[in-house]
């Protein structure tokens, strides 16, 4: 079981963060919201529709209308240029003339600061640039909500700052709902309105960033401060060291 009795509200027009240690199922949660995975029980409601009871065509329709998703790797189509990647959803889902699409692409790329990189291929981009292109592509159809899967992981400080600014600006300027899944505490806390901290399939605590900072849960404190030892022990469960040392070589195999 990955999640046990989880209950979350994601408010329209706000930035909601879902934080938790690696392997706590944060990405799985986004896939559940997007309808890529089915829960054994429970429901996910997006824009008034129960995602997992929709027919395939209704689900694709809901995704097109309401959702964008930014994958950790960017998930750019490797055989298309930056320009064509951003054009992809527009060409697939609209009947706009190529000229209008051209203008839209330039505006979307301008928003992420990569208008000048439109002729590059995905393999020529740095990780941060790839994520920005993916963001431009995700907002191409102006979705109501964007889900960010670990947007800051593995980024240098500058790219990280750029991404933080972009998420903040999109939310403020366009009123886009943002769901940010991350374990980068400071960056995430700086832009989110509400934070859910999950661990072991449960919501451990939720609240505004300020409220969480003053949390009296030792676990949340350790997570936010990044302490090496605490309720989550430094050592993986094992018998005492002295017993292990005296047990001889055999103990490795048993």
């Amino acid at each position: 079981m990955i999640f046990d009795n989880i209950d979350m509200d994601i408010e329209r027009g706000k930035v909601t963060a879902i934080m938790g240690p690696s392997g706590s199922g944060k990405t799985t949660l986004l896939k559940l919201i997007g309808g890529q995975l089915k829960p054994d029980s429970g429901s996910v409601i997006v824009d008034g529709e129960n995602v997992h009871q929709l027919s395939q065509s209704a689900l694709y329709d809901l995704r097109r209308r309401t959702m964008g998703m930014l994958f950790q790797s960017g998930a750019l189509l490797t055989d298309l240029s930056v320009y064509d990647n951003v054009a992809f959803p527009l060409r697939e889902h609209t009947t706009l003339p190529e000229e209008a699409i051209h203008h839209l692409i330039l505006l979307k790329l301008e928003a992420v600061g990569l208008r000048g990189a439109r002729h590059l291929m995905p393999a020529e981009l740095s990780g941060g640039m790839a994520r920005r292109v993916a963001l431009a592509r995700a907002i191409a159809l102006d979705p109501q909500m964007i889900m960010f899967d670990e947007p800051f992981t593995g980024q240098d400080p500058i790219s990280m700052g750029v991404l933080v600014k972009l998420i903040h600006d999109m939310n403020q300027a366009l009123g886009m709902t943002a769901v940010v899944v991350s374990h980068d505490v400071n960056e995430t806390a700086s832009i989110s309105d509400y934070i859910y901290v999950i661990s072991d399939g449960k919501v451990v605590q939720s609240g505004s960033p300020d409220a969480l900072k003053h949390s009296d849960s030792a676990w949340v404190k350790q997570f936010l401060d990044g302490d090496a030892d605490g309720p989550v022990p430094f050592h993986y469960a094992a018998e005492p060291l002295i017993d292990d040392l005296m047990g001889g070589i055999k103990s490795v195999r048993s």
Partner: protein, 264 residues
């Protein structure tokens, strides 16, 4: 102790059997979805043409070279056997019948599985592991329609075409060896073939075989790519399975089809 081991083994056998069957089930559902997506491809001929280039045109060279040599070797071997009976003038008959009925479709199927099938699996599997397929789903574009179906249809179209090219070049190779090296008269070579090769029994049956082989090999290739574990190890295993299963399927089906077609 022993009872435990036996139970364990039984459990393993049960588990493996179940997972095999569920794979077959998944592959069948997958094929059904691919077939349902084909109308989309017909509306987007550009996607199809691109894939025809990748799986068809890029496999052409290996087909040409292999076909030429197979035809040449066949002519030599036929001559060695037939000359003892003074029947070396029937050399074209032996070359053309073995090419049209068996070697053309089978060789093309095997070469296609190795060259294009493995490339298809690797490409789709890599798209899966780099989240391109998921990304497409979230952009509300069904990868089944946009990625899988064009590749599938391109393969099914390409294999019979490649087979007919293989057949033609192999017969030309045989012709070259027979007339230039072995001294058979051209007229004899062609007239023997004309009199004894039946269009329906030999040529059409060979093409039906190639259609079946193409269908099965491409099905295996795209399914393995789509179903692979998205890791480098899983990708390697899936590519290997495409070549192994694809080749075995071609050989096994060839036996069944031959038995059915030639009423043995």
């Amino acid at each position: 102790m022993i009872a435990d081991k036996v139970l364990n083994k039984l459990q393993q056998v049960g588990y493996k059997t179940l997972s095999r069957f569920s794979r077959v089930g998944r592959a069948s559902l997958f094929l059904w979805q691919v077939l349902l997506s084909l109308p989309y491809v017909i509306q987007r001929p550009r996607l199809l043409v691109r894939q025809l280039y990748y799986v068809g045109v890029q496999t052409l060279l290996i087909i040409l070279v292999a076909g030429l040599f197979v035809g040449m070797v066949l002519a030599l071997q036929a001559y060695i056997v037939l000359v003892d009976f003074g029947a070396e003038e029937s050399i074209s008959l032996m070359v053309s019948l073995s090419i049209l009925r068996e070697l053309g479709p089978v060789f093309t199927g095997l070469l296609f599985a190795g060259r294009a099938g493995s490339a298809l699996t690797a490409e789709i599997g890599l798209m899966k592991s780099t989240e391109q397929l998921s990304g497409m789903e979230m952009m509300a574009v069904n990868p089944m329609k946009y990625i899988i179906a064009p590749r599938f249809l391109a393969g099914v179209i390409a294999v019979p075409l490649l087979t007919s090219i293989f057949m033609a070049i192999a017969i030309l190779g045989g012709y070259f060896v027979a007339t230039e090296m072995l001294g058979i008269y051209e007229g004899v070579f062609w007239s023997q073939m004309q009199n004894n090769v039946d269009f329906y029994d030999d040529v059409i049956n060979g093409m039906i075989k190639s259609l079946v082989f193409g269908f099965v090999v491409v099905w295996i290739a795209v399914f393995e790519g789509h179903d692979c574990m998205p890791t480098s190890e899983g990708l390697g295993q899936a590519t290997t399975r495409t070549v192994v299963h694809g080749s075995l399927a071609v050989l096994g089906l060839d036996f069944i089809l031959t038995a059915l077609m030639f009423n043995v």
